[in-house]
Subunit: 221 residues, 2 copies
């Protein structure tokens, strides 16, 4: 892996992703407490376990790279905790929408970034982004709930908008603070990245996909 700045950027990226998986584990396990049935509780727990296994792979890779996983994750703790604090779901359905919308945006973002990575890092990132089956589960449950009580759609659509707003605001904070990480995307002194037009198109794709996901759940974005 060439270049100090590139290595630093990869450690940042894997650290952010690792802490993201660890908080996803916690969030899903928390949501399990809201589950209306034991089977739903077990399904959420299984998804939480998958997130943990993703976390463990990222942590192992950080160790392979000679980085301390804790040090690598540390810069992203505040932003991720702030996001989760500001978007604590009030019930089972809000938790499902959050997991689906939040994971979706994070997945799209990391998939876009993976284009600028070396093969071995890209492979790992794509592997840990693999859907744990949560999406289908969340979509199915949210759609069924809205069919049963259409008034839910308004509240959940608002909730979706709030989630995206908070996610973008925390992401901007991280981008402003972590130069190495941002340079992965927009290029740095050592290597070219996407030009500004490409970054713009990337955000358009992220937004389009978000609107699509909301529609799949039966919600307006």
């Amino acid at each position: 892996m060439a270049g100090t700045q590139y290595r630093e950027a990869v450690v940042d990226l894997l650290g952010a992703l690792a802490y993201g998986e660890l908080t996803a584990f916690e969030r899903l396990a928390d949501d399990a407490a809201f589950a209306p049935t034991i089977a739903d509780k077990a399904a959420l727990a299984a998804m939480a376990v998958s997130e943990y296994q993703h976390f463990a792979r990222l942590r192992d890779r950080l160790v392979e790279l000679g980085a301390s996983p804790e040090v690598a994750m540390e810069p992203f703790v505040q932003a991720l905790e702030a996001f989760h604090e500001r978007t604590a779901p009030a019930d089972w359905l809000e938790g499902l929408v959050k997991a689906y919308v939040g994971d979706g945006i994070a997945e799209d973002f990391y998939r876009e970034v993976s284009a600028y990575l070396d093969d071995s890092t890209r492979e790992l990132v794509l592997a840990v982004l693999e859907d744990t089956g949560h999406s289908a589960f969340a979509v199915e449950r949210v759609r069924a709930a809205i069919e049963e009580d259409p008034r839910l759609a308004g509240r959940l659509a608002l909730w979706g908008r709030r989630l995206v707003g908070e996610a973008l605001s925390q992401a901007q904070r991280v981008a402003a603070e972590r130069d190495a990480l941002s340079s992965l995307l927009v290029g740095g002194t050592e290597r070219p990245g996407a030009d500004l037009a490409e970054v713009g198109r990337m955000f358009a794709r992220l937004t389009d996909n978000h609107i699509l996901r909301m529609a799949v759940m039966g919600l307006s974005a």
Copy 2:
């Protein structure tokens, strides 16, 4: 596996154990939120994952036995949820003491009961009772905290007593309601169990082990 009552008792036992593991998963994942460092958070998450894997093995066995895991777990939901509600830890150390003391008593109890099981069920029960490394972790952290601030010992000792009291009260409730399960221990119409003196000795062993565990953490029972 001979006898309807025995099969019913085994399904009860595996159901109780399975829901116990599922709530242990949730409890450890919740405790991870209190963790003072990212490494501690990851360690708790790993233990939660082990509990989930135990749960999954028990659920699979229930399916093999032709039982619905959800139906088998249902009778124990209320008692286990009531126990956890009444003993929600206020901080990281209370969570560690609860996990160590609670898992210890549960483990001792199921180990005693396993003497009255057929080989294949006993093997499974002993396998899922295997320590997930949580004990050493909890003991080390609690001892270190008390060494640093000896005043903690009084509060945590009281907390240990409350945990045992609540655990016994919920266990009695379950025993009173689930005849098949109780008959495993004390015998039923189809097969002999322990006599009353043996049940008394079993409770003495459970109590002795609890006192020992408290002492290991540096707490009086």
